[in-house]
Symmetry: C2
Subunit: 450 residues, 2 copies
């Protein structure tokens, strides 16, 4: 049964902390997985969570630390001594340890590293924290099993036996030449079925994927997904094997990219979550609201030029929201499909023309259905000029919105601007303005002509 | 250098196919990875792609087949004999092979299985295709290394040597009891450092994660992410070890869920992509367009009740689009944050109250900024009653939209309806209607009072 965190559980837990009911707390903690404990700590005050953290056993505590939300971890670590932090990260995988250390203030980083017992781990961390965020270097771990190409299978098995001391799960054996340059991968299977005196260079696979330390995380994710890899070796500028990335770290990259896309499409311009403070949340949203407001002002100027028409035919105003809303909806639908296809690289090598044509066909179908329905409705309630105006305008607006919803993100992508930015507020605002213009133009023509 | 598919490349490739320039084609194919070749084939007609497929060597062809888009693969397989398909899947991992077979028409499935050389693989596939889509059973592969708990380390290493014949990368050694029941995991490290005569039961880890064959893919993804797993064992209803899931398959589940969320939020009610036909694309979009249209009609009725007011003050109509658009924008922003938090499970155990309060505070801040700006603008261009109306209405609308954008998805989630559905069209439509009502109400009060 997976653990379900409830507010009742939290309340009981907080009560137990207040009463310093260590027995109850330890019993509860013993039954939970590190990730579940972290979920609980995320909901507690820093005083409460550091109290609970002290109750965790040596092996569990570091795992819980890794699973905490960034904010909770930061608060908690700020209460720890350098020695205490060093103890926590001594047995972590090097990439996890480096993540923890890189979040600390700079002077604390040095202190923590100097307190570490495992000197090799400390030097690995010192190396890893230097890589820029968002690069393969910042994602990789130092723990790996590598053999020289000139070794025999037998020597190689001995070597692996020695090296697996640092490695929990062995994903692959990497092969390097005399200069530590990465040249390929040796499968366990090959190793076991080959003659004990065969040399690695005769049996390894040279056609292996790898990335450089400065490759972007996005490209790492792309390479791993494209080739269905669970682990990917990382080399430095000289081609020397320096680490490996496992897919669980890349899953986070993929999820973050998807989350960011959703936020951009919703007109949120900064990476925020529900736990951020009011000011940060407000600031992330105001830019696109202001853009939307400017769009609204332009809309008001356009309608303003039709003032005399509205005075004679105030019923023209009735359908302003409908026209605006439909343009917005269609635009978002069209651009969402395009943004998604761009994010998944399914449009590479395609030409824009056929996509536009298809999107316009969809617009024609749905535009026709909607405009016929609104014609029927309006005909029953309004005069025939207004009915015709709404119907013709709606059809035109849907077509335009389909076109813009497709064209804008494709064009932005061409100019290396994130197309997700275009999808929500920009396309909606543009379609609003165009929709109103079309509506009043059609209205003037139809009312004027008859 | 990663391969970049260009339309020039495709054109040259198509020309070479037409001229049956086998030398050129083979040379090009030789330089590409299977995933890249698949990308090329996705752009060709079925006649062209089956011609190219025949040029691929034995080892590459099955890998390319797996990387093709579903549609392309379906078309291609339809041209193959049962024997040919059997050859392609004989050496695939069982989960990949099962995916291919399950896409075939039923009578073809039996024929393909009967043509397979590897009887064990055929029986594995026959088992796997029976699991329902979206369950752990449909994601798992049969290839794994397992040992009995009563074996000694030495016997165990021999056993592993035998079993790795089927396994390319060894992720973990699974431990089962006499009845094949899964009881835990043995790390390679433990195996190597332990005494050769130690028994597995003394050294294995019993506290291992696993799922059942009927566990949903979403839960599988959650468990693997929560515990940072690269591989997860699968047991049947009796607890017997029957397979394992690797994270690369789960990455697809995660990406699909994110894509689906984006589509729902954009008012697309079916899982579509740019390659679907016009009719399917239209049908996926029309439902929410009709909802939006009903909203627009309601809006028109509301405005209709203020006809006399518009006749006297036609300038009231100017700001209808602005009010509608801002309500929509704020609502989408608020709900996107909530939908995302729900999808990432970061709201579990939280109470709704504080979230609403925070969202309302954000609404107040941004509402205040926007309403002051629009007041300044309107004051310069319009009379003071209209300025005050727009400003007060805008502030109120932003507050309402913040509230609804938070409340609606949280409520839908409570009733087990996908909250992403609520985000785009529903909240937008609702806010449109409420916005107009507020605007004209405020207008009537202000114009009426003074």
């Amino acid at each position: 049964m997976p653990f379900e965190l409830t507010s009742i559980f939290i309340d009981n837990f907080k009560d137990a902390i207040e009463q310093k009911n260590v027995g109850f707390l330890k019993e509860q903690l013993h039954e939970l997985y590190p990730a579940d404990i972290a979920q609980v700590l995320n909901r507690l005050s820093v005083a409460e969570s550091s109290y609970v953290y002290e109750l965790l056993d040596e092996d569990t505590a570091p795992e819980v630390l890794l699973e905490l939300d960034d904010d909770t971890r930061e608060e908690l670590l700020a209460k720890f001594s350098a020695k205490k932090i060093a103890e926590q990260i001594d047995n972590m995988d090097s990439d996890d340890a480096a993540d923890v250390v890189s979040e600390l203030p700079e002077e604390m980083q040095d202190q923590v590293l100097s307190h570490m017992e495992d000197i090799e781990q400390a030097s690995d961390i010192a190396e890893l924290i230097n890589y820029e965020e968002g690069t393969a270097g910042s994602l990789m771990a130092k723990e790996l099993v590598s053999v020289y190409s000139f070794e025999t299978v037998n020597a190689c098995i001995d070597e692996i036996r020695k090296q697996t001391d640092n490695v929990d799960v062995m994903y692959a054996v990497y092969v390097v030449d005399n200069n530590e340059k990465f040249i390929g991968v040796l499968s366990l299977k090959k190793l076991i079925v080959s003659h004990p005196l065969a040399r690695v260079e005769e049996i390894y696979e040279s056609d292996a994927q790898f990335v450089k330390t400065n490759t972007s995380s996005e490209e790492v994710a792309e390479v791993m997904q494209k080739h269905d890899l669970v682990v990917l070796p990382v080399v430095d500028q000289l081609g020397r094997l320096v680490g490996r990335i496992t897919i669980d770290d890349v899953v986070d990259v993929i999820k973050e990219a998807a989350d960011e896309n959703i936020q951009r499409m919703s007109g949120i311009s900064d990476d925020v979550d529900t736990n951020d403070n009011v000011w940060r949340l407000s600031r992330a949203r105001i830019p696109w609201l202001l853009v939307g407001m400017c769009g609204g002002i332009v809309g008001s100027r356009i309608i303003g030029t039709y003032e005399s028409q509205i005075m004679i035919h105030p019923e023209m105003a009735y359908f302003i929201p409908l026209i605006g809303a439909m343009g917005g909806n269609v635009g978002v639908q069209s651009s969402a499909i395009i943004v998604q296809a761009l994010a998944n690289n399914t449009l590479i090598g395609d030409r824009i023309g056929p996509k536009l044509l298809k999107e316009l066909s969809v617009g024609m179908v749905n535009g026709f259905i909607c405009s016929m329905l609104i014609l029927a409705y309006a005909f029953l309630t309004e005069d025939w000029q207004l009915s015709a105006t709404v119907s013709v305008a709606l059809f035109t607006v849907i077509l335009f919105a389909s076109f813009l919803g497709t064209f804008v993100p494709l064009t932005m992508n061409k100019f290396k601007i994130n197309p997700a930015l275009a999808t929500g507020p920009f396309v909606t605002t543009l379609n609003d303005i165009i929709g109103i213009t079309i509506y009043f133009l059609v209205g003037r023509i139809l009312y004027g002509a008859f």
